[in-house]
Symmetry: C2
Subunit: 349 residues, 2 copies
Amino acid sequence: MAARAARGGHHGVSIEDVAEAAGVSTATVSRAVRGLPRVSETTRQRILQVAAELGYVASSAASGLATGRTRTIGVLAPYVDRWFFYKALEGVERELHQEGYNLSLFSLDSRTRERQRTFTKTMVAKHIDALLVLCMALSMEEIDELRRLDIPLVAVGGPVEGCPSVGIDDVKAAALATRHLLELGHRDIGILHGQDDDDDLNFKVPALRVDGFRAELERHGVPFRPEWEVNGNFTLASGAEAFDELWARPGPKPSALMCASDEMAMGVVLQARRHGVRVPEDLSVIGIDDHEFSSVMGLTTVGQDPVDQARSGTRMLLDELTGKTGAVRDVGAGFELILRSTTAAPAAR
Amino acid sequence: MAARAARGGHHGVSIEDVAEAAGVSTATVSRAVRGLPRVSETTRQRILQVAAELGYVASSAASGLATGRTRTIGVLAPYVDRWFFYKALEGVERELHQEGYNLSLFSLDSRTRERQRTFTKTMVAKHIDALLVLCMALSMEEIDELRRLDIPLVAVGGPVEGCPSVGIDDVKAAALATRHLLELGHRDIGILHGQDDDDDLNFKVPALRVDGFRAELERHGVPFRPEWEVNGNFTLASGAEAFDELWARPGPKPSALMCASDEMAMGVVLQARRHGVRVPEDLSVIGIDDHEFSSVMGLTTVGQDPVDQARSGTRMLLDELTGKTGAVRDVGAGFELILRSTTAAPAAR
DNA sequence: TTGAAAGCGCTAACAT
DNA sequence: ATGTTAGCGCTTTCAA
């Protein structure tokens, strides 16, 4: 056979090489390098020494094959170039490498409509011990497929049917943002929310935030105004477009806008100012997230911490893998109102 | 022994199971599922059918061990939550999954000062067939270590000593931005650049952009003014701080500022406006990158495309792995001046 | 405390 | 076109 051998064995310092050089068996080397008991301290030192000299590093394929574990966890995300996702990714990365685990990234956006296959083909391919799903629109079949993987699963940043998740309570967060506007005295409040994509996709976040918004309005006896509802896609550009759309519609304008993401909120603020609509004098704007640009922009928002959410999700996965069954469970993440300068009491009309 | 067996074999549909069910040998199954020749079409269909029914997926550990290949490539990045990096990551991801490869992410920021170990320990651990380095500050020892990996290597977004790289010509890009300011008539031009981190780290991008800036100034006979030079770290916040610092210094102010990144440029624009300094009337600002926020912000910039650069780097790696030696080489990426509304001729003084 | 040896699931000669 | 077989490099009983 000789796959590697044929390649000249140029870089193949194997456990056997170490064993030979140290004058012990491979079993002992294995115990020694993994810090297992049943090796005398002197032997261990000698082995470690030799291993270092030879530049030995265990083959993950081999140990993976022998143990059935890969020491890598997968992260499934719809995008990696959007705020919540790259922040969360950073969090997973940090938690993981600290434990010597590897991170395997799977990005499945809606473009990739041949997802079904990708799913099983590549990831199930047993190279991951656990999977962290970042707030994704998933069909029920896809969710089922994930569950069939039979590995620890956790969702971060949005609920996934039948899978423990860590994230903020979107209804409450949206309600908090809305309440701030109401308490300022606003009654003419519009909403810029994310879109519900395809309905068959199990992605609830946008709808939950709208729910929180409407509930809070109702609680204060303020009517929901459909003509002030606009659809965005969480990006800055869509926020700017939303402003244009709203202002192009006939009729009175809202005095405040609650946006489902900071990026959209910033788009609104920028576009509003460009069109001579003063923020917050003429229009109050509040977002959700606390994007790293928000403080410089002076954006009032309901902040959340994706890095932390991801770390916590990762930790649960890791714990589960190290035997602590029940480690993975639903966890509510924190969020708080951050007052800055894009909201103020409405001008007298 | 029975690692897997002990686990109950609950999810272990092995090649042997398929072979048995299909009434052929494992060798034939292997050929069939991998689409190799030397299998009759009818047999192949039958095997594929059976494999699908059983939900068979090859163990990557096993095939990796047998072939010496893992079908995953590594990406080494200092951050994942910064523009260039998450964009590039998106590019790598897209190119890779399209080919059925996996992406293993290693994020090594400066915080992680126990990098040395992480390097060899985890990544060299033979789970990657090739490595793409995203514009990182690396020490010479680290670079050497990477080279010793003896796998295809490519850098994206910045030169890495002794390693082919794809990216823009930073000197020329900075010169282009500077020239635009000069041609507008500016003579009092400041620069906001990235910092050179530790000097022992091989991270040239900031310095190259300064070089381009100074060279272009010189070419036009305009003096370089050290009092208008500020240090940033590529982020929006650092751009805002830089503006404050510059405006706090005694003496005359520049009429234009060339920023080494769009994020910093936006920070400057936002902070300037907040302090009543009009852009571009009082101050022209140009960036480098073409961040997704730049068009809405109206920021004039020299645009580059990290997604594309990353895809191209990835493709070279993949080509190299499929036998096309020499596929990995230095490639210059495109960049272009994008005129928007943060630059204008200087006001008469 | 240490070693021998049997796999883990797959691939690749080599034979048929 | 298909089967046999010997590993790939590690882990893990089990015995010493």
